[in-house]
Symmetry: C2
Subunit: 252 residues, 2 copies
DNA sequence: GGATCATGTGCGATATATGAACAAATGTCA
DNA sequence: TGACATTTGTTCATATATCGCACATGATCC
């Protein structure tokens, strides 16, 4: 790509949108400038552009994103066949298991939920399509990382923070790499309260008709109801069935 | 705003992202150019920028959005306190009713789901936060339109397509305006299979502590289980309770 | 092989980014 | 309270980058 094939005004604008993350619903020009490391004048122009287009509100002091911004992400969720294709299978899975079933893909060091069928809520955080979790300590993340060449998986671990969320969280890269080998060999990953106390989950990869892993699906259950040791016996068979049902549906 | 306070390269890029709507997962440069009505060279630069930043994949012929694009919409969902604040109330509502409960806000002629607690799936389409429905034929849409000054509601109806989705769908603007008056007076809206056969729903506004409508919440049920005539008696009391519980929590 | 369509590129006209300068608002401290 | 220091938003001139057109090239289809 040539230098002139890059629209830096666009790139800067996207960076400004992403600055509205986490708890930052309202940003002043100066705050946005600090967060994005862009010049105040530049950020101001981006924000005013967003406001002019209806993607943001401006009260003269603070900018706030409007729901119109959801169109951007929704362009992906509705354009990609994956979520719609997975959804009925997740519904079925969730009903059979009596637990929540989800699907996610990898984006950098995180997994991104693309579809979900939830029973009652077990996690403290609210997962919806678009939600993100660190890959290293989520069952679907383990499956997706295990599908990568080991060098890439290592690179992702190196970029990850590897926080000790609970006493169970595995944070040693070598231990994680060894676990990826086991996942690759046995075809599933179980997480025993590594992300959050009281939550167990089991995941398997979803492969397309050429055997390439394109996503992961999982079932999550309260540890009090289903100990980690029982996850495999209870849920792996139905996850494998779903996996087999999906394979011929996924091309390219 | 001055002319030079607008970054047109940014605006053009956002337009390109939105071109990936509906069934358009893969776009060539020429296709994107037609959809956005932008010059091919411009679209090409925008798409290459998206690819360079990891928001899109490029196989030399077609561009595809990547899950990274979800960060943009998620910046809103996680930054805005509304979804997180509503979620536990929707969970509770959904459990009490034994039906799906949702919350949405208005964006132009559409409602946008910002939170949802779903029981079994009753609609053919899969609703998640970020999903959109035309406002004129959805229960939450009726509530949100009824909260606007009548001139604005009329303007939105004028811009809407007013499709006859089912035999029940109201498409006459005057009839809809009259219904908005009733909704305003009585404080709730019921939809009897106007969007999709077999689906009824009832919605109430969510107001902040100053009485301004900031969202709507609803309960949807299969018409076979709960006839429209029974929606009010069954669900309005619990919707009103939720409404009252939310009011003091919403400021500004 | 010619017509049609899609993509890539060079260039002049035009729009944008930059950093400094200024004005206004806000915070600080005696 | 008042004076000073900081922070923030805005404007400006100009160097720089982008836009859109026109043309060249490559693909595809009768």
């Amino acid at each position: 790509m040539r230098e002139t094939d890059f629209v830096s005004g666009f790139a800067r604008g996207l960076k400004v949108i992403e600055a509205f993350g986490e708890t930052r619903q309202r940003l002043s020009i100066a705050e946005a400038s600090k967060l994005t490391d862009l010049d105040r004048a530049t950020v101001r122009r981006s924000l005013l552009t967003l406001a002019e287009l209806g993607y943001a509100d401006y009260d003269g002091k603070f900018f706030t994103l409007t729901p119109k911004i959801l169109r951007l992400g929704h362009a992906y969720l509705s354009a990609t066949p994956l979520p719609a294709l997975l959804q009925p299978h997740l519904d079925h899975l969730s009903e059979r298991a009596g637990q929540s079933a989800s699907a996610s893909v990898l984006d950098g060091i995180e997994i991104v939920y693309v579809a979900r069928a939830s029973q009652r809520r077990v996690m403290s955080i609210n997962l919806t399509p678009g939600s993100r979790l660190p890959a290293y300590c989520a069952s679907m993340g383990r499956v997706l990382l295990a599908a990568l060449p080991e060098s890439e998986a290592r690179a992702i671990l190196a970029r990850s923070e590897l926080r000790q969320n609970t006493a169970n969280t595995k944070t040693d890269p070598e231990e994680l790499i060894a676990e990826f080998r086991r996942v690759r060999a046995e075809g599933y990953a179980v997480i025993d309260q590594e992300l959050e106390l009281g939550l167990c989950s089991i995941a398997v990869p979803v492969e397309n008709d050429r055997g390439v892993t394109v996503a992961a699906i999982n079932i999550g259950a309260p540890a009090a109801l289903v100990p980690a040791a029982e996850m495999k016996a209870r849920y792996l068979p139905m996850l494998k069935e779903t996996q087999a049902a999906l394979r011929p549906l996924l091309h390219r």
